[in-house]
Symmetry: C2
Subunit: 192 residues, 2 copies
């Protein structure tokens, strides 16, 4: 390979994956406020027009990349048992928030950075909580717990202490902590 | 008052209050990473040596100021009833986190800003949770709830969803949300 060798540019689904990965890389390197389509195009080795054709706005691209990253790093488990599904979820949330990429993405997309990501952020979290709420719905179907009016809220309140510990308190979240968190919240929703 | 009028410099407890208030002002204006003793001395209209005599390190001064601010803006209520004390606590936490000053202080002291505040932050939160845990201890004494092995953890998990909503999700926290949060967590610790 020489400097003048013609580089083969990726196409189709490969382009999509390359652009989403490049967006994550750029956000980790610079934060969402300073990321640019130029930088992403450079990192993915595609033309800017290729990006704009698929993602007309930068905000849309950022949220597509963050969503793809979350779906991959925090898949929703289906072990057939409520507490083990919830434990698995919490451990993945913990692992993601303690990884440099996961933390950087959280920081880059949180409210107050004036990027105008508010609507996209709301859609992102709604989708995440809805996906994770499947854990509850399956447990209800199995008769493991009573129907819940807002399973998404249960998930939100389950993962909140993990975020709070890691992001605000700077305290560790070990598996024992996660187990007691899950037990406590499940106890709160089961009939007394 | 003319430009040449001799200004009266504050003394004793007045100096202490003025320096702590100036520290909060400086942090809101610049963040903890860029705050300097010079800036604080200017704002409080005292000599730098006056500050160093009371607070040998800038980190110590920052944490003293943040602690004084938290103690003032989130006093621990004592209404004689568990859920109303917890509701009052949560509402003050919400009000503080939605105020420009409270939010700026949280951002300025959170982990990962490389200010080396880790030890002080841990002491700050331990003190806050211990103070708020008095609410639980008084409820146990009144026989309102069974003794808890870790009332501080209860408080941590109670306020976590409020932080998560406001800081990460960018969703509002209304009084109805707080009431259901308190009820749910209290239900989890009461005997079934």
């Amino acid at each position: 390979v020489t400097a003048t060798a013609k580089r083969v540019r990726p196409r189709g689904a490969t382009v999509e994956r390359a652009v989403l990965a490049a967006t994550i890389e750029a956000m980790v390197a610079a934060g969402s406020a300073r990321v640019s389509v130029e930088d992403i195009a450079d990192r993915a080795d595609v033309n800017k027009t290729t990006i704009y054709r698929r993602w007309p706005t930068l905000d849309g691209l950022i949220m597509a990349a963050v969503t793809a990253h979350a779906d991959t790093s925090i898949p929703i488990s289906d072990t057939g048992q409520l507490t083990s599904d919830l434990n698995a979820l919490c451990r993945l949330v913990r692992d993601n928030l303690t990884s440099p990429t996961g933390r950087a993405l959280l920081v880059a997309t949180r409210p107050g950075d004036n990027r105008g990501l508010d609507e996209m952020r709301e859609r992102f979290w709604t989708a995440r909580f809805t996906a994770a709420a499947k854990i509850i719905e399956r447990a209800v179907e199995r008769g493991e717990c009573p129907p819940m009016t807002a399973p998404e809220l249960f998930i939100e309140q389950l993962v909140a202490p993990i975020h709070f510990r890691l992001v605000e308190l700077g305290r560790p979240v070990d598996n024992g902590y996660i187990t007691s968190l899950v037990e406590q919240l499940v106890r709160a929703v089961l009939p007394g």
